[in-house]
């Protein structure tokens, strides 16, 4: 059968075999957690607790402050030690809530599954619960999910696309979730189906995860009420890009500068849907996630269930530490992930992976040959070589006219470039300049 996909894109080496077969383990509870108040796109949450207060797992510690924001809950039982300002991956300063963990009580805490009468749910209550649970897009974009599920008046949404592509190299956490707990994902789908009433639900999974495809298909028996079909996607990067995925599975083209809503589609990552299911069936806010620890620098690659706020030092110690040859630590995958300079960071809602990469010399840039491999790679059909040249020449209006703002920084261009030109960096430079100077 032919596989659904999009135009252009690249085939990087995936390195998923390092961790794909490893079942998810729960990381032992750390001695402290450091929970940042900005783990989502938008405005930081407003702190509700003070130093010295005791918190329990799932307790609200900071509330969404504004339309685009998200609640933050304690992932542990413990005492708030202090609130410190530290950088997030990427450099922005943020308040972190440092909690001394009572490991025994935290370990003893159980999230109990309860009965749920779906018929009692309505749009408002579902949205409120998702907002209360602090759920954000867990594929990495961390956009508040309740906002995404609230279509503007008049917008008609008929399709839910479930993103199980996981096209970033190394990452296997979504894969493992689909294999081990497809029902959790389907529980979440059922809840939003109950109130949004999609005409069709399309579950897209890249074809390199046959066990995930099989697991989802067999779990479907218990969810016959859902108008759901599983679509096998070609293995190609960035297959999980929202616009690429929508095109691949529905044939719809999201207009440049528009959102999936404009073509009647909502896209949701599998972990996000699982979190929605947990919020309803377990009363559990978003306080933990599955992430992949991998890379040639880490002693043992693993898929781990990790409490939000866990210091990454604790995570990597559980994986046997990292080799001295490690040059780079990444939050996320190698294509779109963010490098951090030290281990002083914590796991957040959007942390899909922690990669420890060694011997990654920064390749030296050489002149552009006009080979146009970047043009052949760009899933948005942009011309990265021109955008970079315009950025270098500070010709920002020209870059804007060539749709530089439609770049979502997937990195396919810079990956492909034989001259190793930092195309994405130049494009970011142009985008930032255009935004700040309002060109």
């Amino acid at each position: 059968m032919s596989l659904a996909t999009f135009r252009k894109g690249i085939h990087p080496s995936y390195h998923k075999d390092l961790s794909a077969a490893k079942a998810v383990e729960s990381l032992p509870v750390p001695e402290i957690v450091e929970i940042p108040l900005l783990q989502h796109l938008g405005v930081p949450a407003r702190m509700l607790k003070a130093k010295g207060e005791t918190v329990v797992p799932g307790e609200l510690i900071a509330e969404a402050s504004g339309m685009i924001s998200a609640n933050i809950h304690s992932s542990v039982h413990g005492e708030i030690k202090r609130i410190v300002q530290r950088p997030l991956p990427g450099g922005r300063l943020c308040d972190y809530v440092e909690i001394a963990v009572d490991r025994e009580k935290t370990d003893a805490h159980r999230w109990e599954r309860k009965e749920l009468d779906l018929s009692t749910l309505d749009r408002d209550s579902v949205n409120r619960r998702i907002r209360d649970a602090g759920i954000v897009g867990m594929g990495g974009a961390t956009f508040p999910t309740n906002v995404k599920l609230t279509p503007p008046p008049g917008a008609e949404i008929d399709t839910l696309v479930v993103n199980g592509a996981e096209c970033e190299p190394y990452l296997t956490c979504d894969h493992r979730l689909m294999v081990e707990n497809a029902r959790g994902i389907l529980d979440g789908i059922r809840i939003i189906q109950q109130v949004l009433g999609f005409k069709s639900i399309i579950f897209g999974i890249e074809n390199n995860k046959p066990d995930a495809i099989a697991a989802v298909r067999s779990a479907l028996d218990a969810y016959k009420d859902l108008p759901l079909s599983v679509v096998q996607l070609a293995v190609k990067y960035p297959q999980g890009g929202e616009k690429m995925l929508i095109y691949a599975v529905t044939g719809r083209v999201v207009p440049a500068g528009s959102l999936p809503l404009d073509v009647g589609v909502v896209v949701s990552n599998v972990q996000t849907l699982n979190a929605i299911g947990e919020a309803f069936y377990y009363d559990k806010p978003l306080v933990e996630r599955i992430l992949t620890v991998s890379g040639d620098g880490v002693t043992e690659a693993r898929n781990l269930r990790v409490l939000v706020g866990t210091p990454i030092k604790h995570v990597v110690e559980y994986c046997g530490g990292y080799a001295d040859s490690t040059d780079k630590i990444l939050f996320g995958g190698p294509m779109m992930g963010i490098a951090v300079p030290t281990l002083d960071y914590s796991v957040m809602k959007g942390t899909s992976g922690l990669l420890f990469l060694s011997s990654r010399e920064v390749p030296e840039e050489s002149p552009c040959l006009h080979c146009a491999r970047c043009v052949d790679a760009c899933p948005m059909n942009l011309m990265p070589l021109k955008l970079a040249a315009y950025a270098k020449a500070k010709m920002f209006a020209e870059a804007k006219a060539l749709n530089v703002n439609d770049c979502f920084e997937c990195g396919a261009c810079a990956y492909s470039c034989p001259a190793k030109i930092r195309l994405v960096s130049w494009i970011r430079y142009a985008k930032n300049y255009i935004r700040v100077k309002k060109i």
Binding site: V253, A339, C371, P418, A419
Partner: protein, 332 residues
Amino acid sequence: MSDKREGFLLTSSPHQFSPASTPQIMYTVVLTLLPAMIMSVLFFGASVLLLYVLGVGAAMATEAVFKLVRKQSWRSSLDGSAVITGLLLVMSLPPNVSPLLVVLGSVVAIFVGKEVFGGLGANVFNPALVGRAFLAAAYPVPMTTWMAPHAVFGFLAGADATSGATPLSSAKFEHTFESVGRLFFGQTGGSIGETCALFIMIGGLVLIALRISRWRIVASYLGTVFVFGGIFWLINPQIYPSPIFDLFAGGLMLGAFYMATDMVTTPYSHLGGFIFGVGAGILVVVIRLFGGFPEGVMYSILLMNSITPLLNRSINNRVFGAKPSRTEGAKS
């Protein structure tokens, strides 16, 4: 794992890169030229080996000197692009050309054809052709003195050709046409590396398969020569050569597969490549049939090189989602 290590690399995404590199591309091109180079040695003797060495050496040395003068790293002269320039220049010269002219041509190719523009990637014209154009203008007699090749393919009738003329000049001035078989295998007079269409095509097709060459330019260039040349042949086959002859004679194969496909100096858009190929094809036929020279490949490419920046600048892709559309049904 040291307890508190600082200073991991802070670079922005992406953090993974394809193994492709400029030297890899350049030396792949060099490798695919080897079959045609070996044939040229068989046809014209071991002396052409010396010419290759001199041409490549002079090109690399010129680039290295230029980089040093500009206080840049001389190592970029090893990236393979100067090797290609040197090889292509030698391949486009007559077999008994003096070694001095080869060196001179290489120096001009790199200096005037490439470095004055700012080096690799910034040059407008194909450097090898700039060098050749200089030699053709400055030394017209040695540049049009030809020798017959040694008989390599014995199965071709009259393989031991003695005529010193090239098939194109015979066609142009005497209206006698060399057999296509001899053109195809290269058993004719002509430039060092241009005569053997077969082996040039083999190398060129490998580059297309590796997606280093852009097939649209090659196809539109050759196709235009075939169609446009064919029109004249249909009008008067006594005077004008057949379109098959047009394709395999002279430097067209080398030009189409190795010069019209130079990434730096030809358009990168599909439409631009098509325009380049058609334009160059028309120019070849016009110059060959009606111009002052028997061969027009060099000028066809150089002239189209000159409009390449314009084509690159003016042809843009439409961004994904540029026009709202909503089509039902899964796409594959």
